[in-house]
Each structure stands twice: as C-alpha cells, then as structure tokens.
Subunit: 248 residues, 2 copies
Amino acid sequence: MSRYDPSAFPPFAVTVDLVVLTVRDHALCALMVRRGEPPFQGFWALPGGFVRPDEGLIEAAARELAEETGLRTHGAVGQEPGEGAHLEQLATYGDPQRDPRMRVVSVAHLALAPDLPTPRPGGDVRSARWAPVEELLGRGKDDGLLLAFDHTRILADGVERARSKIEYSALATAFCPAEFTVGELRQVYESVWGVSLDPRNFHRKVTGTPGFLVPAGGTTTRQGGRPAQLFRAGDATVLNPPMLRPDA
Amino acid sequence: MSRYDPSAFPPFAVTVDLVVLTVRDHALCALMVRRGEPPFQGFWALPGGFVRPDEGLIEAAARELAEETGLRTHGAVGQEPGEGAHLEQLATYGDPQRDPRMRVVSVAHLALAPDLPTPRPGGDVRSARWAPVEELLGRGKDDGLLLAFDHTRILADGVERARSKIEYSALATAFCPAEFTVGELRQVYESVWGVSLDPRNFHRKVTGTPGFLVPAGGTTTRQGGRPAQLFRAGDATVLNPPMLRPDA
DNA sequence: TCAAAAGTGTTAAAGCTACACCCATGC
DNA sequence: GCATGGGTGTAGCTTTAACACTTTTGA
C-alpha cells in the first residue's frame, strides 16, 4: 500500500565511497584521504561524497574519482584504450549506526588504476596518499589501522573483490599502463595476491589465453635482462580457463 | 568540505527489492507480485519496500521476504539448519529516472529458497506467483515480459548471480529441502543452468568434494528407481574444485 | 663474462569426459 | 521380468605444476 508512497518516506542521505586500488613498488595500495573535521577527525578514510540529485550512482563515483585523482574512467569519450581506470559498483553499506550524525547509505565502488603520480590534494581533501593495503588492513583480524566509519570493512571487501576478480577476468590489465610486458603483468598478480608465481608457466598461460593480450609490436628492456615483447589488453573480459590463486 | 554536512543533503528514498528464486517443476522461478497502483499499475514487479529508519539493509530485505513468503533467513534464531532461505545483497540501482515520481535508490537482494507452496498474497500485495525465469526474461534480449521499473534488469542480474555462484559455492543446496538426494541436487543444477549433466560424473563430483554433502542416514525412493542416499548440506561454503557449467 | 629476465620444452600428476557396467527398488 | 534411477570402474584426453634449458640484453 504505502510501499511507494512518494510523499512519506524516511530521510536518507546517499553517498558513494571509493576503493581505489593500484600497484606501487610491488605492493597493492589504496587511495586514502585524511578527514579534516569530525566525526573521525584526523582519521584516514576512503574518498567519497554525496550523490547529487540528478546523477546516477556510477556517475557520482566517476566524478569523485576524477576530482580526487584526475583519472577518467574506461569508456569516457575521447579516451585512448588502456587509459583511465576501471570502475564498478562494489556493495552498499547502510547500517543505521554507521554514521553517528544521521542515516547515511553509502554505495561503495571499486576502481582499479595503473600506477599514478602521488595524488594531488585538491577540492575538499586535506591530504591524500597511496597506502599499502597490508598496512591498512594488517595480516590478521583487527590488526590494521583504525579507519573512519566502516571503511575498514569496505576496503577489505574491495580488496577481496579485486583479488578474486583477476582470477577469472582480464581486469589485471587495468593495473598496467597501456603497453606492458608479461613480466609486468605477472608482478601485478604477485602484488595483488601476495604470492610468487612461476614466470614460465605464467607466460604460457597468459599468452595462450585468446583475447587476453595482443602484441603491441615493440620490445622493452625496462625490467632488465632480455628484451620483452610489449602487449596491450585484448578484447577478452572473461578468462577461460581462469588464473587460479595458489593454495586457497 | 560539505562531503558529510548532515544538514544539507539531497532527499533520497531508499528501498529494497528482492529477487527470490526457487526451482519448481524443473524450472528456475522467481517470485513476482502484481502492482495495484500507478506507476506501472497491473505490471508484474519484484517484491520490495521501503527501508525503515532504524533497520539495516539486509534486515529490511529479510523482513520483506518474511512478509511476502513467510520464509525465515539462514541464521535466524531458533531455526533448524537447512530451514529458511539464503539471503545476500545483490546490487544497488539508482538511476535518477528509474522511478518517475522521485529519486529512489533500491538496494536489491537475492534470496534462494527451496520449493514452497504457492505464495500467499498478504499485506499490501494484490497477487503473487512463481513465474518461470525464462518466461520473464525470454531467451534473447528484449524477448521477455515487460516488468515494472528496471526490474527486468535487476532480475537478470540476480539470475546471473545465482547461475554463476552455484559454480564455485555450495549455494545450490539452498534450493533443496533439508534432506535431499544427489539426483535432486543435480536437477537443481540442470534447472538453474538449463542444461543436462551426466548423472554418474555429477554424483562422483559432489560426493567427492569435502564438506559439500554429509550423509543424513536414510534413503528414499521418491524419485523412483533404486533407493538413493539422503544428504544434508555440509559446512563447506566454497567448492574446490568448482562445478563448471558446460560450454559457456 | 656474468647476472638477470624472457621464453621454450618436457614430464609426471591430477582432473575431466564419456562411456560400460552393475545394483536395488516399484510395478 | 522390466523400467527407472542410483552408483562404481575405467580408458583417453586435457590441464596443471615443476623444473631443465636456451636466448638476449645491460653492466
């Protein structure tokens, strides 16, 4: 009866929060901002903000991402393939007590980006940094840094999504620049999963999966050793067979 | 700056919508309700409703599920193992135009339930039914029934989540009664995926996966033929190795 | 010349698929 | 007996994991 009564609904604020991940110095890192006002003043938090009345959820996330990092999102017009970040919805967090001031429902999004210059604090952000995920979350439970709100949980969910999604999708290339070598892609997997992989078997696997990688034509020796072929991300979005994590 | 200003936020309504799936007569079916008022009066829609000011998102979904079906959710107190439905968050839909009257953000949830007696229309629901998913979505694009709002999209996302999740998790048992046979579990997979599976290999696979099934001690001939062992769902939540869909 | 990373070959183990085959019940 | 579904065995194929080995550069 009153299920959709437009005049009598409880007041909610809707925000987007961003788990922005990249690989720096062989470590999976997340973009964190420091809060300048209460609650949780001085705590590290995920970037985010209110959804505007006239924009969709993913648009709000893309706008916040651009504001914080200057990154554009895959699919934006006038953009080279391989440029910009991958962006997808992660999950929604709406515990009645998650914000002490009012009822806030936050639609978290996950962004995967290649290594970027250190973030520019801009707009309403006091300071920002790339923080190693291991430092933020710790190795065990309740072993990490104390973040604002429920952002530890959101970050953990985002990291787990990224870790599992590169198993069966071609998303790992979102962490790489437009042209990259097989060894660089392997380092992405190793950094995100925190394991080491056999370079020979990895090479065979990724080059043998149709549509995952396409040769870009050149070679590079930027990793040292014998020159390596350069590749771009291919058309494939799904990896078949998947790249499975060891153990687990 | 104004990112969390609690006094100046745009007005949003927050609802939950439910994709409730079951297997009936060898077909994957979804619970649908008929709308009694505009907009989309007379259209079939997913069950759902407003989130109350003092309840969490999953609680709101569990409350709506109980109101529409009488189903309790896994983990509720005083409940036998194997009883009730599996419930998880699916995704959030917040296009500014998705409801013509006002800005509504809907947090969709996915529920998997064993075959139930035909739903009781109760509360504010005019009529309700279990509708075969193939009839609702059709086989190709734009080939199904026209549902209210963006519910075709939500339903399709829920169905795809269920289809892929039974590959690598033990969730298929959520479609079965507390005690079931290997053949009944196989029919669940066949109905959800719309394929047929080799009964011999399927049997070996599910009984050989540790923690998936535990013998319940008896046998039944309710499927005809030789008596089959009865099983309950085991502790395992992850299937390793996974049950992969043929082809795809 | 040497270290380092790229890439190929090979082999044994494990998993999957497609069957043949037997078992235990209801009718 | 005979149809029906339950359950086991097994041969052939594909995939994986581990590691020996060659290639090509920079220092």
